[in-house]
């Protein structure tokens, strides 16, 4: 009885979160420019349009550029902070770590407005690099937490052994520490990549209708009327997330990255 209830509950939840996406996938297959579900006539013609129609391909290009660069930026800021706190347990490092947690804890609209005012004052608005910097800083929390987890998992004895064998600080970092935290850096990078691709409000504030990212384009297209291209873009977003997170799960320890407690022997 309890078991049946449990299975029914889990099935309901899983299907509740899958169904809307399946319906959207169905809508994206409509042959005519309509939003029917079930679709009327099956066609894949809306998918190539993302790459062919100028407004969609431009938005896609912007989003990919921003996500790729913001990921590099976020990891490059996170790594020194995490390493600093791990290696030298000083108050300043701890303060930097907390400073790195703050952006993600605040609602993004606040960051968006702060950055908008900053760039307006600087007289430099609507640029791709503004969004890259904003995303890089806003999402720094994820690689920061993950790299710290990676550093924590390094066995102190291993470092001791390397030191005994004559490795200096630099050598220790490049040949022992870096290879061990690399998977965590990649995971952190991937999280930033996905979140930056999906981020709406900061891109909307900073893009100023000049630099348009994919989510911003989706909402503005929605306002001027539904088309199956939007559904196709939504499907692409889902597939992108599925691929990235499956890769992380395949090559990394996902439960650990998300804070699961592993019993120690």
């Amino acid at each position: 009885m309890i078991k049946v209830a449990k299975i029914a509950f889990l099935t309901t939840i899983f299907s509740m979160f899958t169904a809307p996406l399946l319906i959207v996938a169905g809508v994206s297959l409509n042959a005519k420019k309509r939003m029917f579900f079930p679709p009327e006539g099956i066609s894949m013609r809306w998918y190539p349009e993302i790459f062919e129609e100028a407004k969609w391909s431009a938005a896609l290009g912007n989003s990919v550029t921003i996500a790729v660069c913001a990921g590099v930026l976020a990891v490059s800021i996170a790594l020194p902070i995490a390493y600093f706190l791990w290696r030298h347990r000083v108050l300043y490092a701890k303060a930097l770590f907390v400073a790195g947690l703050v952006p993600f804890a605040l609602p993004p609209v606040i960051t968006a407005l702060g950055m908008l005012i900053f760039w307006s004052q600087a007289g430099y608005v609507g640029r791709v690099e503004n969004i890259v910097l904003a995303h890089g800083v806003f999402l720094v929390t994820l690689p920061l937490v993950m790299i710290s987890l990676g550093l924590e998992s390094i066995d102190e004895e291993l470092l001791e052994a390397a030191r005994t064998m004559g490795a200096d600080g630099k050598k220790l970092f490049t040949s022992v520490i870096l290879p061990m935290v690399l998977p965590y850096m990649i995971a952190g990078y991937a999280f930033v990549l996905v979140l930056s691709m999906n981020e709406y409000i900061i891109s909307f504030f900073l893009g100023q209708h000049v630099t348009i990212t994919l989510p911003v384009q989706v909402l503005s297209s929605l306002r001027s009327g539904y088309t199956p291209v939007i559904a196709a873009v939504a499907v692409m977003f889902v597939l992108f997330a599925v691929v990235i997170f499956s890769l992380i799960a395949r090559f990394g320890d996902l439960p650990k990255l998300l804070g699961a407690w592993s019993p120690k022997e």
Partner: protein, 307 residues
């Protein structure tokens, strides 16, 4: 560097032990690790300075087209106007309800998946992450397709001949609440997941050996153990929902306007940057206060789930 700091146990989480932290000055710290200048500059220049400017501008004087330097409390005084109080109250209600609904679904769900074997557990986590990271735009759009007349449930209701002519189910109060709760569930799962994996299996097993039903075990053992985590999760979700932007635009009615929309409308729609800044400063202070509360809750929870 001394051996004491060199071999100190590593716990860089905000809940780490403060007593093992050395306290040299800022310059002394940077000297130990010169690379720390880079993150300091990046976070300072592109995060903290913009915030400082925003705070200054929240006191500035608004002119017809833009704003000029000044120090006045005009914008903060507007917090007492109905425009502000109504929408804050609307946001608070939506945020509280949506967080509560999300927790009702997420608590049993997270508890179950944390007890899955590793492989199905990882698959479930991938699933949750995919839904979580999905843009608010995409989620709101998908739900509008489900609630829309041509493709969704209303069409189904019509096909079943329950009604003559189906109407779209959005925009509406319930569509907005549903959208916000829906968007919160995966986030709630990820907040609860670490605590659920830490729950001692032996406790629940012991309760059941003593004859408690699984349902009773859940309510008398699991929930009390998670009490502080749940409170912390509620606060985090509350803050997260207060920042919702696209969902209320797309699924809600004009009277369902929330905080983030209000800020965006003042800043971009009406060009009243100082008032938008004042709203953001207020919003930020509330968020920081609530976040500190969750840190404190988690800290005082060491005796509960963690042990």
């Amino acid at each position: 560097m001394s051996d004491a700091t060199e071999n100190a146990p590593i716990a860089p989480a905000p809940t780490g032990d403060d007593d093992v932290i050395a306290k040299p000055g800022v310059l002394g710290s940077i000297k130990r690790f010169p690379f720390s200048i880079y993150p300091t500059l990046m976070l300072g220049l592109f995060f903290f300075i913009p915030f400082a400017i925003m705070i200054v501008i929240s006191f500035a004087h608004r002119t017809t087209s833009t704003y000029e330097a000044g120090f006045e409390f005009t914008h903060y005084a507007r917090f007492f106007s109905p425009l502000f109080t109504t929408h804050v109250w609307v946001s608070v209600q939506f945020a509280a309800l949506a967080s509560l609904l999300a927790l009702v679904v997420a608590v049993p769900f997270t508890f179950f998946i944390s007890r899955f074997r590793r492989k199905p557990q990882v698959v479930s986590l991938v699933f949750v992450l995919c839904v979580l990271t999905l843009s608010e735009v995409i989620v709101a759009y998908s739900l509008s397709v489900v609630l829309g007349r041509q493709s969704g449930l209303p069409a189904l209701v019509q096909a079943l001949e329950l009604v003559d002519r189906a109407k779209s189910w959005y925009p509406s109060y319930w569509a907005n609440l549903f959208g916000l709760s829906y968007f919160n569930v995966p986030f709630a799962v990820l907040i609860l997941y670490p605590a659920c994996t830490r729950l001692d299996r032996e406790l629940t097993e012991a309760a059941q050996t003593l004859g408690a039903s699984p349902v009773r075990t859940f309510f008398t053992i699991v929930l009390p153990l998670l009490e502080k985590t749940l409170l912390a999760a509620f606060i985090l979700l509350f803050v997260f929902t207060m920042g919702a932007f696209v969902t209320p635009i797309w699924l809600g009615r004009p009277e369902d306007t929330m905080m983030a929309q209000l800020i965006a409308d003042q800043a971009l729609g009406r060009g009243n940057i100082p008032f938008a800044a004042a709203l953001a400063v207020f919003f930020m202070l509330v968020t920081l206060a609530l976040s500190l509360l969750t840190v404190w809750l988690r800290r005082s929870d060491k005796t509960g789930v963690a042990s």
